[in-house]
């Protein structure tokens, strides 16, 4: 993990403070989350105290400080999705997976996050699993969706 962070940092030789967020984004893209070691080396590289790096990283919803599940589920809690019942969808997911928002299932398969509007309001309510959109989701249709991902593991 350390080498991969180094690799990214090498691309940003002589970088300034304005590269901080892009670097954090790239590291998270590769590792899936931001580890303490990664945050420290980023701080050292840019000459910014690690406390500041941490301050910036925790400000933004995008950054995570522990690893995600194999399938990362984003539930849209935007207005259009809310009006069409996304609260029920979220509740049902939490019940089914037995995790809260921001947590990962024990088997490491699923993690849950809420996002504000994915931009497909016309198809509300929407959830996004590893970049795949599922439109018009209902509490009933969740079973099938979750199962289809579980099957992917078994195959």
């Amino acid at each position: 993990m350390k080498d991969r962070t180094e690799e990214i940092l090498n691309k940003y030789a002589n970088a300034d403070r304005d590269s901080l967020i892009p670097i954090l984004q790239e590291v998270q893209d590769i590792d899936g989350w931001l580890s303490e070691t990664a945050l420290t080396s980023i701080g050292n590289h840019l000459g910014i105290p690690v406390s500041k790096v941490y301050g910036v990283a925790t400000f933004y919803n995008q950054f995570r400080f522990h690893p995600n599940g194999k399938f990362h589920i984003q539930v849209c809690r935007g207005t259009a999705c809310h009006v069409l019942g996304s609260a029920t969808v979220l509740e049902e997911l939490q019940r089914k997976l037995k995790i809260n928002v921001g947590e990962t299932t024990k088997d490491g398969l699923f993690s849950l996050e809420i996002v504000a509007c994915i931009g497909t309001c016309g198809l509300a309510p929407v959830i996004n699993i590893n970049g795949n959109f599922h439109a018009g989701v209902t509490a009933e249709s969740l079973d099938g969706i979750i199962d289809s991902y579980k099957e992917k593991i078994n195959n």
């Binding site: 984004q25 910036v56 919803n61 207005t79 009006v83 931009g119 497909t120 309001c121 016309g122």
Partner: protein, 648 residues
């Protein structure tokens, strides 16, 4: 034509032409080919924006490719952006040589073979799933197929910003140029001074589409007239309003239009560097924008000394990191600089002191996407559209409980009723209209009695709503307005950056008051009714303080959804407070649970499950729910196997 010769052809015969000079007849014919008006083999277009893909366009695409491969048919496939009719996705268009392009709706993967085989093999249009035909150059009309421009969803629209979306190939700079693109920009470089462009845009009456509605040309002049060695242009593509997706659609469907608009704006304020600040939640838009920027660089439309004019222009992309407040311009600047995205007091305004301390103009995607057409057709033409104080068109994202959802671009001054009932086909499932929420977390709602107001910046303000970015979420009788207010308050309270106290603490308190109204107290409480009543009398005062003392637009507008629902739906609040009922059935915690003694066999299951010990009873005798202790969580209903729990 080969790629290289296409590029040389377009540069020498089209882009290098002087203003007003017309194409020779051979060039005109060649351009028809590039615009796909004169084709030799069929083309299949698939609407592959994020919404199309969400509705299954990827599977449709696969089915198309498979069909073409097995049947060895030579057909071009073009992935377009979104034409705006999200509820009809996936959309597939077919164009065969000599004939008009024809559009099919709801083409799920299983419908691909029946449609393609009838059209491609038999030149017949199937009866089902036809949306309509496009007039495509001088091609022949299909008989008995309606024109898409006569479709009720499209007819009242006036598409400037969206003119290419869903129609042209978004990642073909050739097609964009063949359709007249980038000529406004290049002509302008030769003909006008920056100050003249600012004048033109000011005269056009274009106001910012990001929410504030500030006149764009006027703002540009501030930056142009501020002494500095460097100026910046920033395109705000953060689109944080949950329920809005206009900017995403424009970037996915027509990225070159945004680039051209930015190039013109940058010239007008003599900025050589620019940024696009785009949400990380929009990966497809990001991808297409990157491709388009690379293409523009290859054509020399971005870079140093553009077409020998001595003008430099570069675009950098910065990805947002999921913070609503970063749509606010000073927070956005901090975010680009690599800091926590917190706003700062204005003045100084970014136009005089912005990114890295230099004069900076921040404009919304839609604002910038209007610019190429304003320069092409002239400021008078633009100013002739719309109302006296709100010129041009506005794109709205229609969602919620309407029959047709999607994007519409209408001239300013269209009434809300026309948008919801004529364009969007009214309320889904024959339900009753209740309200439409406009302007997102900063906006308000419009009710039945105000449906006939014209949509423009000022009329909306008069009824306590605002233009905002353009999200229109329609609600019917099954929507609870207190719940809607609570939803927005919850959103704002989470997204408040925490810098100023009125916003950080005030929004939290407002949310608590709303939660009091929609929840049942856990342990009966001694004076809950009084507390709820006091809360609601205080909420208006609190709202006033938050509005007047917050640092940035987020806090200053945060109370709007509450004030607006309180104004129009006070009775619903009162029902929640005094009668403890939610007519729409949304606030589940206000449900009353009782036990049907005839069905209850006294199995004790519900007694064990009840988290507050509200159910009493012994084995084999019917149980009883103590209402004061019940929090209406519904656990008993889930536990009961004998349908003995009654809810109302």
């Amino acid at each position: 034509m080969e790629m290289i010769s296409q590029k040389n052809f377009l540069i020498s015969e089209v882009l290098n032409l002087a203003q007003g000079e017309s194409y020779s007849s051979t060039v005109t014919e060649d351009l028809k080919v590039l615009r796909n008006e004169k084709i030799e083999k069929p083309i299949i277009f698939v609407g592959a924006g994020t919404c199309g893909l969400g509705a299954g366009a990827d599977k449709t695409l696969l089915a198309i490719k498979e069909y073409l491969l097995t049947n060895k048919i030579d057909v071009d496939i073009i992935e377009t952006g979104c034409i705006g009719l999200c509820s009809s996705e996936p959309l597939m268009d077919i164009q065969i040589p000599g004939k008009n392009r024809i559009s099919f709706e709801k083409v799920t993967h299983d419908l691909v073979i029946p449609i393609l085989s009838t059209v491609l093999w038999h030149n017949i249009i199937p009866e089902k799933n036809v949306l309509g035909q496009f007039t495509t150059g001088e091609n022949e009309q299909w008989d008995n197929v309606d024109n898409i421009s006569d479709h009720p969803f499209f007819k009242p629209q006036n598409r400037i910003v969206l003119q290419n979306c869903g129609i042209r190939n978004p990642i073909s700079i050739e097609e964009y140029i063949a359709a007249g693109g980038y000529r406004s920009f290049l002509n302008m470089l030769k003909t006008y001074s920056p100050a003249e462009i600012c004048d033109k845009v000011e005269l056009s009456g274009l106001r910012g589409r990001g929410g504030g509605g500030f006149p764009a040309g006027k703002k540009w002049k501030f930056a142009l007239n501020t002494e500095s060695d460097q100026r910046y242009l920033v395109c705000n593509a953060d689109e944080g309003d949950p329920g809005a997706f206009m900017d995403r659609a424009v970037i996915e469907g027509d990225p070159h239009r945004l680039i051209e608009g930015m190039a013109i704006a940058a010239f007008a304020i003599t900025a050589t560097k620019s940024y696009v600040y785009i949400r990380a939640e929009y990966p497809l838009a990001l991808k297409r924008l990157n491709i388009a920027i690379e293409q523009a660089k290859e054509y020399g439309l971005i870079g140093k000394n553009i077409f020998g004019s001595g003008v430099d222009f570069e675009i950098k992309i910065k990805m947002g990191a999921g913070a609503f407040v970063c749509g606010e311009e000073t927070a956005l600047i901090h975010s680009i600089e690599g800091k926590r995205g917190m706003p700062r007091p204005r003045p100084p305004f970014p136009a005089s002191q912005g990114l890295f301390g230099k004069p900076t103009i921040i404009n919304n995607v839609e604002t910038l996407a209007n610019i190429p057409t304003i320069i092409e057709k002239g400021e008078d033409w633009y100013a002739s559209i719309g109302t006296e104080k709100s010129k041009g068109t506005k794109v709205f994202a229609l969602s919620g409980k309407v029959a047709l959802t999607g994007l519409v671009e209408i001239p300013m001054g269209t009434t809300v009723r026309e948008v919801i009932f004529d364009i969007a086909g009214g309320i889904k499932g024959g339900k009753k209209f209740k309200a439409v929420q406009i302007g997102g977390p900063s906006g308000g709602c419009i009710t039945e009695e105000n449906l006939d107001i014209p949509i423009d910046y000022d009329s909306l303000l008069e009824v306590g709503a605002m233009m905002g970015s353009g999200g229109l979420v329609v609600m019917d009788e099954d929507t609870c307005m207190v719940d809607v207010a609570k939803f927005f308050m919850d959103f704002i309270q989470r997204e408040s950056c925490g810098k100023c106290i009125p916003c950080r603490e005030g929004t939290r308190r407002m949310l608590e008051i709303l939660e009091d109204i929609t929840h049942k107290p856990a342990n009966g409480g001694s004076h809950p009714a009084l507390k709820r009543f006091k809360g609601i009398t205080q909420i208006e005062k609190l709202a006033k303080v938050i509005k007047e003392t917050s640092l940035c637009g987020l806090g200053q507008t945060a109370p709007n959804p509450v004030l607006s629902t309180l104004k129009w739906f006070r009775n619903e609040y009162e029902e929640h407070i005094f009668e403890r009922v939610c007519d729409a059935g949304v606030c589940t915690e206000l449900r009353t649970f009782t036990i049907d003694v005839d069905n209850c066999i006294g199995c004790m299951l519900c007694v064990k499950k009840c988290p507050t010990g509200a159910i009493i009873g012994a084995k084999k005798t019917p149980h009883f729910i103590v209402q004061d202790k019940c929090i209406s969580c519904g656990s008993c209903e889930l536990a009961c196997k004998f349908d003995a729990i009654l809810i109302n």
